[in-house]
């Protein structure tokens, strides 16, 4: 197919050509960036928390009318109650859990006090049941001993003699080295790393913690505050039952507590849904916008090409009369569309990069990868060809006899 005659024909309907090219360019720019946002969100969504989510329940409990210093026995009694429930594997009390989007963070250092470089870490209060409850895998060292677990008053300085850290944190603190047995500092006094677990995500799922989302520390301490989170691991198929039985058992043992009706008891599956709601929603929204946008662009191409075919019926008839085959006519329109499409995607690639640059500055997004842009280019060129197919087929069916008629 010769390109020159097509180009000169396009020069005759400049406006329509430019409009389609601009539309393709804008669509490419928006779709690329939207898909890229989707991909980033989906990556976030699919990140593992490191815990056995399918079997875990979190109970937010608030003891009523109790002084912080009297909480120790209450917590012990409640944990006993929970661990004795049939269907429960294990349970422990903590300040927070992964997927809760709220918790403690602090800088951890290899030197005492405020000297030395600090590495960010999330702090999880834990005991000797924690690894078993959450289903964490030890990759080095050991679990806490029951004797190491001690109470912690809210405004005390946190510097336990032992800690367990995640592999991500251990690698960060001791690149390439053995972490177990080494000292780290949360304050002035050293803490010895007694164990390393494979993975435990920090409580925050995005934004400020995204650079250190795997750096968590378990401390063998029980936080003596009016509000506590109980984490309960259940046996297979017992989740629904324990969800009701656990709070009921706690209330039966002591009425002076509050477990909120709405979010007081939650499975980790629900927590994951809640915490990633924005990410999932954003991905869906962007997906819908992409689809509709591609649909509208395709429709626009169909509309304008149909108009051109209608306008050029006579010309097509003449070509047919002069010996052009149906296939020639078809490929004429396909090539024409491809030329416009290529112009559009070239502009679109520049626009997409510009838009990404701006998003990076305004919203701290990452740089878009060439793969996404290349994918977008291919999708739009194929879309253009598909959209032009129907009107081009109609053009190819124009009978040569049209040439002899005055329209």
């Amino acid at each position: 197919m010769q390109i020159k005659p097509i180009l000169s024909a396009l020069r005759h309907h400049k406006a329509g050509t430019i409009l389609i090219a601009v539309q393709i360019a804008l669509t490419l720019a928006i779709v690329c960036n939207a898909l890229f946002i989707i991909q980033q969100r989906v990556t976030q969504l699919s990140r593992s928390s490191g815990v056995d989510e399918a079997h875990l329940i979190r109970i937010q409990n608030q003891w009523v009318g109790t002084d912080d210093k009297d909480i120790g026995p209450l917590m012990k009694a409640d944990l006993d109650t929970l661990r004795r429930l049939p269907g429960v594997v294990d349970a422990y009390a903590t300040n927070t859990t992964p997927l809760s989007n709220g918790g403690w963070s602090t800088g951890m250092s290899l030197k005492p006090g405020s000297k030395g470089e600090r590495t960010m870490t999330a702090i999880y209060f834990a005991d000797n049941h924690t690894l078993n409850t959450l289903g964490l895998k030890l990759v080095a060292g050991r679990n806490f001993h029951a004797s190491e677990v001690a109470p912690h008053m809210p405004h005390d300085t946190l510097q336990p003699p032992q800690v367990i850290v995640t592999k991500a944190l251990a690698d960060k603190l001791f690149p390439g080295g053995q972490a177990v047995g080494k000292s780290v500092y949360l304050g002035d006094k050293p803490s010895i790393i007694v164990g390393v677990v494979a993975r435990l995500q920090v409580p925050w799922v995005g934004g400020w913690a995204s650079n250190w989302e795997g750096q968590s520390t378990l401390v063998p301490r029980q936080l003596m505050m009016g509000g506590a989170n109980f984490v309960v691991r259940v046996k297979d198929g017992q989740l629904g039952k324990i969800e009701r039985a656990a709070p009921a058992a706690l209330l039966a043992s002591d009425r002076m507590r509050v477990i909120a009706d709405d979010h007081g008891v939650m499975t980790f599956t629900q927590m994951r849904q809640d915490v990633y709601k924005r990410d999932r929603g954003m991905a869906i929204l962007m997906g819908v916008i992409c689809l509709v946008l591609l649909g509208i662009t395709a429709a626009g191409i169909v509309g304008l090409t149909s108009f051109w075919v209608g306008q050029r019926r006579k010309q097509i008839g003449v070509r047919r009369a002069l010996g052009a085959t149906r296939h020639d006519i078809l490929s004429y329109f396909l090539t024409e569309n491809l030329l416009i499409g290529v112009t559009g995607v070239v502009m679109g690639v520049l626009l997409a990069m510009g838009m990404n640059q701006w998003l990076m500055q305004a919203f701290e997004m990452q740089r878009i990868s060439w793969l996404w842009v290349a994918g977008g280019v291919i999708v739009l060129l194929l879309l253009g060809q598909a959209a032009v197919l129907a009107p081009a087929m109609r053009a190819s069916r124009v009978p040569p006899v049209v040439a002899t008629r005055t329209v």
Partner: protein
């Protein structure tokens, strides 16, 4: 003449129903996407207290400097106890209050009823008039209760309903965590969005209205911990007192100042205060203070969620694509009628008449697109809950302004899009008809 053009437009649009449908769909979707995201944007970027937003100010004092490897030049977004108490004591502003969020258990008088949790604020009496909290019964506690650390409380309509069946409970007492408080007032449901006075704990949006307020002085006496964020930089001595007098920031300090001159004076005062702290050796950096009013503070804290901004821009881009699409389709549609335009021109239609005829036709496409857009927007606003947190989603709603705006944007955008095709149509030469024979 307009009626004539509208009739012609309907006829022309009905001649190519597919093309017309395409245009209506493009505009409908484009407008709906923009309007839905705009509804959210409007909800989250609204002014929570329009008549006073320029009179309420949030002072910030940098009590951290660059200690412990801190790199930010901005003062912390909350205030520490020492500075808050110092500012409170001098009381330089018309009104001032310190507050922090509290979560408290209320024990009903009826032994059969379960205790329940309420959230609210420990604050000063000025809180209520400053932030224009509406009252159903009673009012704020007197300022003397602040100085006397009195056991008084203000409760919300909802708590009042639960405890006292909604009657006037002023003067009665409630049991909060084993302590008795006298009720000074019952507020109407009050939940300004964004929650400007507590951005540092809520990020700007809190689904549930505050339910209880108790004097700050009393709460500190009872060592009631903050239900919100507590950020520390440097070491903290053990115990409540150690924490209280640490450099940990956890308090929201707000002042009310009558005008810009007063604000300038107050900022000077903050500066002088920080300088004095530097001299005393507490800060080893020069004074670094801020004084933002409500709108400045919300902007400074980036309260409008990124999701909402990104999607607003994407939706605007979407609308632009839809308009480019409409320009193309209208161009096709109008130029196909070049013969008709030539005849009309020959029969005496001026360019103006051609403009009016074709813009009227485009406006009808716009109206149809607007109506479709309206339906889709209504659906979209319902679906917002999928994308945004429920506490934001519930703010976005379809009201008269949104309906009017949707239709207006649709018609206006379509007419704008129609200008180029119409201009081309009006340029059709009347002689064209004769020449083409």
């Amino acid at each position: 003449m307009l009626a004539y053009y509208l009739r012609l437009g309907v006829r022309s649009l009905r001649r190519n129903p597919m093309l017309t449908l395409l245009m209506v769909l493009a505009i409908g979707f484009g407008v709906a996407a923009s309007m839905t995201t705009y509804a959210v944007f409007r909800a989250v970027s609204g002014n929570p207290i329009p008549d006073k937003s320029a009179k309420l100010f949030k002072p910030q004092i940098d009590n951290w400097g660059h200690a412990n490897g801190r790199t930010s030049d901005d003062p912390p977004d909350a205030m520490d106890y020492t500075d808050a108490m110092a500012l409170m004591k001098t009381g330089k502003a018309t009104r001032q209050t310190v507050s922090y969020p509290v979560g408290l258990s209320v024990i009903p008088a009826n032994p059969k009823a379960k205790p329940f949790n309420v959230t609210g604020y420990a604050t000063y009496a000025d809180f209520f008039p400053m932030f224009e909290v509406p009252f159903q019964y009673g009012g704020a506690w007197p300022a003397s209760d602040d100085t006397q650390h009195a056991p008084v409380a203000v409760i919300s309509e909802k708590v009042n309903q639960r405890l006292f069946g909604g009657g006037n409970s002023v003067g009665r007492s409630i049991d909060i965590e084993g302590h008795r408080y006298r009720i000074a007032g019952v507020t109407r449901t009050w939940n300004p969005q964004p929650r400007f006075f507590d951005v540092n704990n809520t990020g700007g949006f809190a689904p549930d209205p505050p339910e209880i307020w108790i004097p700050f002085t009393r709460a500190v006496d009872l060592q009631i911990p903050t239900w919100g964020n507590n950020n520390c930089n440097g070491n903290v001595s053990p115990g409540w007192k150690g924490w209280l007098y640490s450099e940990c920031v956890w308090l929201s300090y707000w002042v009310e100042l009558p005008d810009a001159a007063a604000a300038a004076r107050y900022k000077n005062y903050l500066h002088a205060y920080a300088a004095q702290q530097q001299q005393a050796g507490r800060f080893d950096w020069p004074p670094n203070v801020r004084l933002h009013n409500v709108t400045e503070w919300l902007a400074d804290q980036h309260v409008v969620p990124q999701e909402s901004q990104v999607s607003l821009f994407v939706a605007l881009g979407f609308l632009v694509v839809c308009l480019v699409n409409t320009i193309g389709l209208l161009l096709a549609k109008f130029m196909r009628r070049a013969p008709e335009i030539g005849v009309r021109r020959a029969l005496g239609a001026s360019r103006g008449e051609v403009y009016r005829q074709f813009l009227a036709e485009a406006a009808m496409v716009g109206v149809a697109g607007g109506v479709l857009g309206l339906l889709l927007t209504a659906g979209g606003v319902l679906g917002i809950g999928m994308v945004f947190d429920p506490d934001i989603a519930r703010l976005a709603r379809v009201d008269v302004t949104l309906v009017a705006l949707t239709l207006l944007v649709a018609v206006f955008a379509t007419v704008i899009a129609a200008f180029y095709p119409t201009w081309r149509a009006a340029r059709v030469q009347p002689a064209w008809q004769l020449k083409s024979n």
